[in-house]
Subunit: 448 residues, 2 copies
């Protein structure tokens, strides 16, 4: 199949049809009307701004999200902004409910569309924003008049990124935001051109569409925000997601096919499947399962990752040599680390100072000289004192049970763990299949 015909097929899938567009426009008209009516009864000036992919005409067929921003003067104090914002929000979405990002805002439904009605400050320049949401209207303004001819290419790019798991700037995915996708398509002049470029990327990759960036960034992908020279639009993208885009861009050029635009589906593993895999791999998995703390995903996943890193580092330092790890969250959450080492000796080498460093050396020697429990002190080939001490935790599970709270954990994870946790070792991790069969399927059969 040629790349052209693949992309043409994808295009028909992702571009909304005429009736969708009309339904969207009608919803926007009604929303805006309601909002302006509510604004007119406020004691301050304000206007509305449609933002996001719907505003920019780059939404995917089937997307039903509308983001309506209500812009207040920068002089307005924050408390009033929030109050007026909610007032307008509930006027627009009478059946809506309050949610919280940087400010509280109202979320609700109108004509089958999911609407976020978000207050922000109407600052003059994106570099002067007072909170992250103030930035969004600048992005939309920048893309207006530029992105229109490439709207379908943006849709194709989003479908591609979604399928490979790299779309979304939330802190679980750490992928490509809609705005970043739009900038990349714009910068390279189309989806095909983006893919051809990405196939050659060798991170760190730096793009600066407006050629106004001054500072440097440590990130794998750097795209200087056209509306703010100080900001990397791709800051949240993980190196892994950037590498994925490179990998799948090459695969798409190499042999174009529709499957590259379709998310991978895997059958969940059963407990028996997990047992077979644990046995075949011959590693020593250890998992901690606990109740998922009630926090939003953008808090939860970074804390899970931090906790998993902490656990993995501690297992490494303790000598259990992690092989691979992952974390899951549904009703329960789990940190899972497969260890290379199943059981350590009863003794652990403990190296002291060089014998010649008198005070330290004598202190070390005196500590252990009469200790019946240790082997040594003796002197190693480099002239240092050494003892072999009893080791308390010989298996990964023993170690996790004794040292879990010495590990660097996310604060909400730490609280959740102290409410209660199960440490599962070896084949006991089959108990995870119940909730996490799909996640385990992906873990045991990883793809780029």
């Amino acid at each position: 199949m040629s790349l052209e015909s693949v992309l043409e097929t994808v295009r028909t899938r992702v571009v909304p049809d005429e009736s969708d567009v009309r339904a969207f426009e009608a919803a926007v008209e009604e929303l805006t009307g309601r909002a302006l009516a509510a604004i007119s009864s406020l004691p301050v000036e304000a206007d509305t701004k449609l933002v996001g992919s719907t505003a920019r005409g780059t939404w995917l067929a089937g997307d039903r999200d509308i983001d309506l921003f209500v812009r207040f003067p920068p002089e307005l104090d924050r408390e009033k902004l929030e109050r007026y914002g909610l007032e307008v929000g509930y006027a627009v979405l009478p059946d809506g409910h309050e949610e919280f990002a940087e400010h509280p805002y109202v979320k609700g439904e109108i004509r089958g569309f999911d609407v976020d009605c978000v207050p922000c400050y109407a600052v003059e320049d994106a570099t002067e924003i007072r909170s992250a949401v103030d930035r969004t209207p600048f992005h939309t303004a920048y893309l207006e008049g530029r992105i229109d001819p490439l709207a379908d290419d943006v849709r194709i790019a989003k479908a591609f990124l979604s399928a490979i798991g790299a779309y979304g700037s939330n802190l679980r995915t750490r992928g490509f935001s809609g705005y970043l996708t739009e900038l990349l398509v714009l910068e390279y002049g189309g989806f095909r051109q983006l893919i051809e470029a990405a196939a050659e990327w060798n991170p760190p990759v730096r793009l600066d569409p407006e050629d106004h960036g001054e500072r440097s960034f440590d990130d794998s992908l750097v795209v200087i925000d056209p509306t703010d020279p100080e900001r990397n639009v791709a800051a949240v993208c993980s190196p892994r997601n950037v590498a994925r885009v490179i990998h799948y861009a090459r695969k798409l050029l190499e042999s174009p096919r529709l499957e590259l635009f379709e998310p991978r589906t895997l059958d969940p593993l059963s407990a028996a499947d997990v047992r077979t895999l644990v046995e075949a791999r011959g590693a020593t998995p250890v998992a901690v399962r606990f109740e998922t703390p009630d926090i939003v995903d953008d808090q939860l996943y970074p804390q899970l990752e931090k906790s998993l890193d902490g656990l993995e580092d501690a297992l490494e330092r303790a000598g259990f040599r992690p092989l691979r790890s992952t974390c899951f969250a549904r009703e329960d959450a789990a940190l899972l680390v497969e260890c290379t080492v199943s059981k350590l000796p009863a003794v652990a080498r403990h190296q002291g100072p060089p014998v010649g460093v008198k005070d330290h050396a004598e202190g070390f020697y005196e500590t252990y000289r009469d200790d019946e429990e240790v082997t040594g002190p003796f002197i190693d080939d480099d002239g240092r004192y050494v003892v072999e001490r009893a080791r308390s935790d010989r298996t990964p599970a023993e170690f996790v049970r004794s040292s879990l709270f010495d590990v660097s954990l996310g604060p909400h994870i730490e609280s959740a763990l102290s409410e209660g946790n199960d440490v599962l070792a070896g084949e006991e991790i089959t108990a995870l299949a119940d909730q996490f069969g799909a996640e385990l399927a992906a873990y045991f059969d990883p793809v780029p």
Copy 2:
């Protein structure tokens, strides 16, 4: 017990009595007479020189070694030196036999003394020596007239170094030579002063009695040869032996006792003892046993050490994490490594290049993409390809069996191993107790 009374007791043990001295003098007289008679019938000039501890009056009671050097003019070609040397040797020691150091020489017995009669060149200056033996007479000449008042202190120092296992510059011991011991006692002005200084040593330690050294050395202890500014007399001393001297010097000053002048004696371990210890330590020992190659100790031990290092490094790289190791040699020899890891998973992580490094990355990916045996390729957090491959050697013993000859081995050890070897793992090392019970006792109960 005071240090004085300890040293006084040691002195009575190590100083030879009057009759020993007379017997020695008579033997030397006879030897020298015979040598000079033999020399007078040679077509070249030559003289004799008594060297070593007997020459310097620093030999220990019970020592029965005499080193008689025969010095030939430096113009003499090597072949003639060897021929004349053996001629004189056999004249002096008619029942002697030929041995080989740098030249062939004759070893034999006279009046109950073991005599080495060694030919050398009578060079003008120690820096002009043609072979290592030419240096020895300079050492003796330097000490003559200096060491006499300290001869007993030298004897005490030798007894101390012997007891702690640090006496002898052979390549098995890698300790302190007689000459080095004499220089140290001379430099510090006595045994007690040497011990007081050594207790404060913090290697690297550098001494230069004649203050003429110019170059630097990497060794733990550096004593510039008074007869050769280019040479470190302590070059062969291992950092461990230097540290031992420091350690036991402190112990001797802290609580003076005769035991510090008596070698440690240990009951050999039985097979049952070894089994108990292997179990208690919970490590995974692996040993290779083979027939000891027929080479001198100064060749054998460096080759054993090199082979042991090679084996330990290879086990480390393979993931078995050596805990401690040793080597033994009697009729058989053995390399023994205790490993921390008893069994590795069936899969091993194999990290590829960053996905962005196109040629390498594509090569890696293509190698494994259709390989049913591997997990992956997938992309890690840093954006590199990774696969998990099957691992062939999961235990230290499997690894040693399959990879012994990929290890960096001493050449004679390699030949001996290829004649035949046994790999012993876990409790199988009890089979070593038969020959190496004493060595295993020291290994499992190490002291400084």
